[in-house]
Amino acid sequence: MTLTSSELPAGVHAVQVPREIVNADSVYVVSWAVVEGDSVEEGAALCDIETSKAVVTVEAPVAGYARPVAAEGDEVPVGGLLGYVTDRPDTPLPSAAGARAISSASGHGAAEVASAASASGAESATRISAKAQRKITELGLDVALFAGRGVVREEDVVAMAAELHAASPDVCAPSNDARGPSQLKPMGTIQRRVARVMEQSVAAIPASSLERMVDLAPVRERALALGAERKVMVTEVDLLVHAVAVACRDFPEFNGYATADHRVRLFEQVNVGVAVDVAGDLYVVVVRDAAAKQPEAVAKELRGLQYLAARQRLGVEHLSGGTVTVTSMLGRGVHRFVPIPYPEQAAIVGLADVEPGSTKAALVLVFDHRVANGGRAAAFLAAVAEAL
């Protein structure tokens, strides 16, 4: 549920979680850069939100006064309300009822779960204490389990966990586990998102993989030459990104995806996502319209994105809109790997060393077998190698 501008009073602009964030249905509010009533310019940073892939800065849509609504730590759905920018510091805001309706968390951060039995609002609301909420997180339970249960205290969560364990011993680590004592730890928020994406992918995509050898020596030479000429650092991966983009022109089915009703969506523009590892967290930055760019331009862009990633300053525009993905295991002592394509993409192309000291490398394609068969995939991979 979203607020449209027509529902808002004059002088009030809603700041919502951007819809462009793909593969995320909600975000966490990491921190606010402003406090209630701060004067902000258009485009000024308002708050950082954490998606599955990055901490993203949300900017002021217009100049005015910042009026945060979601609290730090709140989980807010895509399209949900983060706050407002108003034309005066005291412009009255829409009633909190509206705000709550579009935000999964209330102004106070109290978790409320609509009753499964009835949608009649507060009458059947569930009120979960912060203490209980922490326990739910700690035990990895689903908050929806408590829908319609009125007030939920920590003891109720423990009781629920015990109940679930009795029904299905896998939910919680049993105390008499033959494997000995264990600990149930929650995943980090980013890794949790990655986990969901991966589950989604594996569940939806019947993937197959192909691999061919390439010699990276000429590739490296070309990269060095380009770099020297353009005064920019160019890597094999940069060239691979460009090569995949170029190959996709002739093999458009790899720049699209199979829908559930067995049609294939083909994108006109090739936006290549590139997996970047920052301190163990996985981000996929996107080089837009990579086929139309020169390799050195692609390299320059990727350096910029890596810089932003390292400083956790990636924005929505840097992370969204990928149509095909490239990943690399070069330099990690790995000679073989099978990456997993992103949901709503048909192909991911990877690169790994074959053996230390050699210039030979393995070029891997994992593809959705629904959009193409082996022969066509082999031809695509050959085209990539050629372009490389």
Partner: protein, 675 residues
């Protein structure tokens, strides 16, 4: 000669003819007969309580009252009021039955000697306190254009009361049709005027620009003629008049408490105006008049003696008190969703605009309330521009303006008095305690005082010891008074509207000043829903009960006024971190307090926390706890009060914060109640 008295005709006296000597003497002799008979009855132990006779001063009563138009003029008298009353009503039975505590008395036996009410006649036993009330009556009659003159009787001893001068000042400023009659009998109870009164008596009124006259009250006919011209002058709009009448009280102040020089009294007895008049009309007429007076008093006493004695049924009284307020849907006293953006100050201001626009009998009095200033807290902003005749900035005279509001309300108006800081209510306490809150009951329901006294109260603003108090405690225990406190959980403007037009009882209407800049809270606190207890469904000022669905509640938390945000902050943490579910009650009508919603909640929770900003001893929390404990006994397992420390409120911010309650203390109190 006097007319025969019957219950049907006694109220029908119209424009009096020019007072003749015999008529004047008959009235004076009736007064004398009643007063002397009362003293006899007291001596014989047949009367209870006290009385103040006017023996020797009858000329004043007959001369002044004889000059008034009894169909419209108003009389406000004091403790020594029998003569005035008889001159006005010509009905000894109403007076005697009243003093004898009979239901047929002027005030149904409730008021007694000093507290009489009959048509346009009122009396009250507080020196000076009646003067602003009478002045307010004059303001009301002036506003209504009735042409009525209000006569206010005081004594020389009354000149010691400051509120007299507040009244003189406003009467002169606004050219009010009021006649102040000072019966100078040379003694303030037992102390000679020379020891109590410095300077010049007439000059006191003259200094306010009030026309004055002083003369001896020895001839009722001449006095009546003089007073007639004075009354006509006032009626013509020439403003107030101060008449000093030199007279002498021949009997004791009350009963037998006379230490005056016996020779002085004897000398005065020989100069008794009554004797002179009797001499003038001759022995035969005098004897006939004496017989007539004696017979009338005999008959009146005989009838009064067989009348039922006044009694009190506390339960019926309570019901009658509540019956003076209309029943309206309690739920409408809470703000609707479209009020979400409204500040309390705007909400109250809008309500006052609407009240003035809709009701011609609503009038506002207060210090500095006229535009452009619009009141210290701007609640009255814009009102005087739209309604210049009904919004008056007053002198700094809290007792005076509260008393005037009382007088106006007695005459059918609905005054709203703004007191700049609640602390200043102390200056007007006599008016609230001894006049406004008592009139209705002690006059046996013959009068109403539907006035509203608005007052900002409370701290958090650094205004220091005399501008930050929660002074309402001083008024909680006053019978006849309703004390209402707004909160941002209620709709303050609607509460005010109800107090002004739906409630015929006097209402002390408290506005905690930190609320003014707050918005109305249209949405229930996190996880809670508003319920209205069945006892509050038709209440004008209902208690809001917020409960958490799906839980019986662990504790009942009661508050009022400006502390809601603080209490809700505490309760939020109490729930999130301490896992305590509270029933949360916000009271609007503090006194008399409807206990049912609190009681029902504590029946479930067994635990009670009361949060108030005032100090704890003898406070709101003390009353709530005591009554809940009386009702529930051991059903109340634990009770905690949160209040300010028992100190004046300091000025320095950190010190003020230490004295006043805060969210941390409230949270701790709730935790301790639940341990």
């Amino acid at each position: 000669m006097t007319r025969p008295v019957s219950s049907v005709t006694r109220n029908v006296r119209v424009e009096p003819p020019v007072l003749g000597v015999e008529d004047a003497l008959a009235k004076m002799m009736l007064i004398r007969e009643v007063e002397e008979r009362l003293l006899e009855l007291f001596s014989a132990g047949r009367l209870f309580g006290t009385t103040h006779t006017c023996i020797g001063q009858e000329t004043c009563a007959v001369g002044v009252v004889g000059a008034l138009d009894h169909t419209r003029d108003v009389i406000f008298s004091n403790h020594r009021c029998h003569g005035h009353f008889l001159a006005y009503t010509d009905d000894p039975e109403l007076l005697l039955a009243e003093i004898m505590g009979r239901v047929t008395g002027a005030s149904g036996g409730r008021g007694g000697s000093q507290h009489l009410c009959e048509r346009n006649f009122y009396s009250n036993g507080i020196q000076g306190g009646i003067v602003p009330v009478a002045t307010g009556i004059a303001l009301a009659e002036q506003h209504k254009g009735s042409g009525a003159v209000t006569a206010c009787f005081i004594g020389d001893g009354t000149l010691g009361e400051g509120v007299v001068y507040e009244s003189f000042n406003m009467a002169s400023l606004w050219k009010l049709p009021v006649l102040y009659v000072l019966e100078h009998n040379r003694y303030a109870q037992s102390t000679p005027t020379t020891r109590t009164t410095a300077g010049d008596i007439e000059a006191r009124a003259a200094a306010f620009g009030i026309a004055t006259d002083r003369r001896a009250a020895d001839d009722p006919v001449a006095l009546a003629e003089h007073m007639r011209s004075v009354v006509e002058r006032i009626r013509a709009g020439e403003g107030p008049f101060f008449q000093v009448l030199d007279t002498y009280r021949l009997a004791a102040h009350s009963k037998g408490d006379d230490d005056r020089d016996a020779e002085e009294i004897d000398e005065r007895r020989r100069a008794d105006p009554l004797l002179r008049l009797q001499h003038d009309v001759g022995v035969k007429t005098t004897a006939a008049l004496a017989d007539a007076a004696r017979l009338r008093v005999d008959a009146a006493l005989a009838r009064a003696e067989v009348a039922p004695v006044a009694g009190v049924d506390a339960e019926a009284e309570r019901a009658a008190f509540h019956g003076r307020a209309r029943t309206l849907p309690g739920k409408d006293a809470f703000p609707g969703p479209d009020a979400a953006t409204t500040l309390v100050v705007q909400n109250l201001n809008a309500a006052l605009h609407e009240l003035l626009a809709r009701h011609d009998d609503v009038m506002l009095l207060g210090e500095d309330i006229v535009d452009p200033y619009g009141g210290a807290f701007k609640v009255s902003r814009g009102l005087s521009t739209r309604f210049p005749d009904r919004v008056l900035s007053t002198p700094i005279s809290e007792a005076g303006i509260i008393g005037m509001g009382g007088g106006m309300s007695l005459r059918g108006m609905r005054p709203v008095i703004e007191i700049m800081f609640g602390d200043f209510l102390a200056l007007g306490a006599d008016q609230i305690l001894n006049h406004i809150s008592k009139f209705h009951w002690m006059y046996n329901g013959q009068a109403d005082t539907p006035l509203v006294i608005r007052a900002p109260v409370g701290g958090h603003r650094g205004y220091g010891p005399t501008h930050s108090q929660s002074i309402e405690k001083m008024f909680f225990g006053v019978p006849g008074l309703v004390v209402v406190a707004v909160s941002s959980r209620h709709d303050p403007g609607e509460l005010l509207r109800r107090a002004v037009v739906e409630d015929s009882r006097p209402v002390l209407f408290l506005e905690q000043k930190i609320l003014y800049a707050k918005r109305l809270q249209t949405e229930a606190p996190a996880g809670m829903v508003l319920e209205l207890h069945e006892s509050e469904v038709g209440a004008l000022y209902p208690t809001g009960v917020w409960r958490t669905p799906g839980s019986a509640g662990d504790v009942t938390v009661v508050t009022y006024g400006g502390l809601t945000a603080m209490v809700e902050e505490a309760l939020f943490t109490n729930f999130e971190e301490d896992e305590i579910v509270a029933d949360y009650l916000v009271v609007a009508q503090l006194a008399p307090l409807g206990l049912a919603p609190i009681l029902d909640s504590v029946r479930r929770t067994g635990r009670l926390v009361v949060v108030e900003e005032g100090t704890a001893p003898w406070g709101f929390g003390a009353e709530v706890l005591a009554r809940v404990a009386e009702e529930l006994g051991s059903g109340l397992a634990r009770a905690v009060r949160v209040a300010s420390h028992h100190l004046p409120i300091p000025n320095a911010r950190p010190a003020e914060q230490q004295v006043l309650p805060d969210a941390a203390r409230i949270r701790e109190a709730v935790r301790s109640a639940c341990r």
